[in-house]
Subunit: 224 residues, 2 copies
DNA sequence: CTATTTTTCGAACGAACGTTCGACTAGATT
DNA sequence: AATCTAGTCGAACGTTCGTTCGAAAAATAG
């Protein structure tokens, strides 16, 4: 009955990825509880029972989507951070990576940001652990920034979580036709944060060179 | 069968409020779709069918919770803003009002922030309209701030929505035993925002008098 | 006390849910 | 050619869902 021939392990994995993508879309549109496996069957073109060849439960399906998205964003971030030493550049890279990934994979990220309540305890803990690692990475960059004297006295936990708030809320309002693209958005958010937690001297600047910051030069490009 | 006597219209309204409170709790814990009317029946002590005397559908129940919360926060804000003219103070008041209400009614606000996808089109539009009014109020305060020359050139929509991001994300991480109380939290968030969007001069200061800003005086009280 | 209105609930409805099962197909292996 | 394995699906399972209905109790009015 399968019209195209799934000959090997490769094709099977690819089909699973296709299912995960469609499932993420359905979850992002109707919510985890509001979406039915039948919805996902319809969206993916795989029969209801056929889906269970690829995942053993609805919970596991959500888990697979979340783990995949989180792992990707973290791997990508660690790769981009590898060569960077300057704390401000590291933080700007984290923000850019986060927002770019968000806008490039809006459905997966919406599921990630919106559906952590729905996962139950075997899976819940594992996703929470990765989330914690991500927060700790951001926190350590913030602490480097602070050690460099570029942050004023303030509660670091609240500061970092406020940054995540700005970034994670974007999915609720961003419209590609109206709002700036990812790189510009990342710049604005990073500017607000760095100025916002800064000690008043320096901070907001356009992309400087890998080391040292550029001289003051006004950034144009506003929009009313 | 009711043991206490609901004598008049007052008591009936009070019981509805009790049901709304319990329903908000259940929705905040299990999500709108994940929660069943039977859960709400159990939590509120009213029989399954008895609930339908107070609201006509699950959708309407969610609508009532959201409208009530939104109306309250907006009314309270407009009252507090009445006497204030200084844009910075007006913005600080908005932030304080928002965060205080959030932390005082965490369940209702979680439902408000988390479940706008679930509402369908007769109700959805009405809630969206109030949300829009709230955003516009914040936006107009930001524009006043800008007109006063205290904001640098930047995309105002992105700025204001980033502020909402910081505020609306709090419900995902705030733990009363670990994190600062509402007033302190509001101060931090307002500081980050005002410094973050500011033009470099002035901004972050402890509550000044209703008009004019106080002289520089260091704000102590940090926490590692 | 009687009549009326407001409030409550047990029982049941059909629909939709997540999941399972056994049969079937088609390519790979021997 | 016979066997095996990976992949697919229709049909059905038992459960839970939101909602309805009619009766009965409690409060109010005359």
């Amino acid at each position: 009955m399968p019209r195209s021939a799934p000959n090997n392990h490769r094709d099977s994995q690819a089909k699973l990825q296709r299912i995960l993508r469609q499932a993420a879309r359905v979850f992002s549109e109707k919510g985890f509880e509001g979406a039915s496996i039948r919805d996902i069957s319809r969206a993916s073109g795989v029969s209801l029972s056929g889906l269970y060849y690829y995942f053993e439960s609805k919970q596991k399906l959500l888990y697979l989507i979340q783990i995949h998205a989180f792992t990707s964003i973290l791997q990508r971030l660690e790769r981009r951070l590898a060569g960077l030493l300057d704390p401000e550049e590291r933080l700007r890279t984290l923000v850019a990576n986060h927002i770019e990934y968000f806008l490039r994979h809006p459905m997966e990220m919406k599921v990630l940001a919106h559906e952590d309540l729905a996962l139950e305890d075997p899976y819940r803990r594992e996703v929470a652990e990765i989330k914690r690692r991500y927060y700790q990475l951001a926190r350590s960059i913030f602490d480097e920034l602070r050690a460099g004297g570029r942050v004023r006295r303030m509660n670091p936990r609240v500061a970092v979580l406020s940054l995540f708030g700005m970034m994670n809320w974007i999915y609720t309002w961003h419209h590609p036709r109206v709002d700036p693209p990812a790189d510009r958005l990342a710049e604005i958010v990073a500017d607000i944060f760095l100025e916002g937690v800064g000690n008043g001297q320096a901070a907001r600047r356009a992309r400087p060179l890998p080391i040292g910051r550029g001289l003051p030069q006004h950034r144009a490009r506003a929009s009313a």
